[in-house]
Amino acid sequence: MSSAFPSRPGALVLALALVWGLGCERETRRFREVPPTATPGSALRLSSINPGPAVPDSTIRSTYAENAYAVSEGKRLFTQFNCVGCHAQGGGAIGPPLMDDEWIYGAQLENIFATIVQGRPNGMPAFGTRLATSQVWQLAAYVRSMSGLLRKDVAPGRADAMQAKAQEQATTEQRPEESTTPPQAERP
């Protein structure tokens, strides 16, 4: 055996482990908050600098922005909570479009979370107390998928209603530009 792997079964096990490791995290369905009582304050960080000793990094990204179930839930809520009433299916109407490369208040997951929770001048309501924290993260992750900022295997690939645009999965990435948020205010 002069192969790079010790043996054929070994290579197979390694391949299966890789598939399992990558596939399951993407598919894991978390129904309960981790921790169940998470409040926006404890999870939302717009800066990587903090006073005192370093705290462990938040798992928000892997839980929501890298999880296909969370993003598809966000897609369902986007219609049910009537985000489409102002933003349409991402193209924008009386609210700004969400599928382009322009972000007024930052394109990071945390920026979108803050925008939904706090509301923004000229029309965006503050949904803070009306939405569960998990729902806001799901919505924020879905909003990022609309302009192709999520991995292709995570972004939704189906729609239950008639659609005038390509699925989020098939959207080409729109690199965020023209943000009026100073770079240091966006989470690095």
């Binding site: 129904f31 309960r32 169940p36 049910q80 909570f81 107390t129 009306r130 569960a132 998990s134 239950d160």
Partner: protein
């Protein structure tokens, strides 16, 4: 004939349609029993019959007699199958016939994972919306208009003999006339996701005057809170996550994502027939629904104890 009582039993028929189905079932069982006895009898007769002598086997009259018996048996089989076909066809015709014109129309929408129930009227102000509990009058035909907004569900009440799929984008309908007052259990009969097994509902068949009184109450808006605790509860409802999905008639809460709660306290169960409607179960369901029905679309609600008690008092006042 033999009945197996229970609120969820196809062998305790409680409606016009269920009686027809039950009768068909008994006819088929009866025919099957006769056929079974004849076949086993023939088999036993063949097994214990004395062996024929060699010259008898060659006998042409015996050969003709045997051929006639086989032909008669084949003919009887075909005739029986055709009779069964006609019985089944006749029952199907009676079951699916056009409902009488004086029937009550009830619109049921299957959702992941509950049942949205609407009693419509020529006057839209008299429409009533409820969820998971359907009341019907005894002795009057009821037509169910069945729809779905997400995946395929199955509307099934075994005791009342109705079962029909609810298909997104296609309205189906089914009708029956309840003959026996009682409380019957319905269940989703088409796998529809995580909480399919706990997607149940209640059908209450009651005398026409009680049904009319119930429907009148359902048409009303919700009771206005009178004391400070329930008033606080209403404020909690309108300012928290509840209001994003649930509607309560007469308040600004008008979302149609989750079940309508206008007359919640009058229902027997909560969470689509899963839990009895008591204060403790309601509290557990509000605080951590994912513990009770993982995957359900209601999020956990970490309310402060005082707010939760006020909310419970308010919800319990919604009769």
């Amino acid at each position: 004939m033999i009945q197996f009582p229970g609120e969820h039993s196809a062998h305790a028929p409680a409606s016009s349609q269920a009686v027809l189905l039950d009768r068909l079932g008994e006819q088929l069982y009866g025919i099957g029993a006769v056929v079974f006895v004849l076949v086993v009898g023939a088999l036993l007769a063949a097994a214990f019959r004395p062996r024929a002598a060699a010259e008898d086997v060659e006998d042409p009259t015996r050969e003709r007699r045997m051929a006639a018996i086989v032909a008669a048996a084949a003919g009887a089989t075909v005739a029986t199958l055709i009779a069964v076909l006609f019985l089944s066809f006749g029952t199907g015709r009676e079951l699916t016939g056009t409902p009488p014109p004086d029937a009550i129309q009830i619109r049921v929408t299957g959702r992941q994972w509950f049942w949205d129930v609407e009693y419509r009227d020529s006057l839209p102000s008299r429409w009533a919306t409820t969820a998971n509990e359907i009341h019907v009058p005894v002795g009057r035909p009821v037509v169910f208009q069945l729809r779905s907004t997400d995946v395929i569900h199955g509307f099934w009440v075994p005791s009342l003999g109705v079962k029909r799929d609810m298909i997104p984008g296609q309205e189906t309908s089914v009708w029956f006339r309840a003959d026996t007052p009682g409380v019957y259990r319905g269940q989703c009969a088409e796998f529809c996701g995580y909480q399919h097994a706990k997607m149940a509902f209640t059908v209450v068949a009651e005398p026409p005057d009680r049904f009319a009184a119930w429907l009148d109450r359902q048409r009303d808006t919700a009771r206005t809170p009178t004391d400070s605790l329930t008033r606080h509860g209403q404020d909690v409802f309108l300012a928290s996550t509840c209001v994003m999905c649930h509607a309560i008639g007469g308040t600004p809460a008008g979302s149609r994502v989750g079940p309508n709660l206008t007359h919640l306290a009058g229902r027997r169960t909560i969470a689509a027939g899963t839990l009895p409607n008591t204060r403790g179960h309601l509290a557990g369901w509000i605080v951590d629904p994912q513990q009770i029905k993982p995957g359900a679309h209601m999020p956990p609600n970490a309310l402060a104890p005082g707010e939760l008690q006020a909310l419970l008092a308010y919800l319990e006042s919604l009769e």
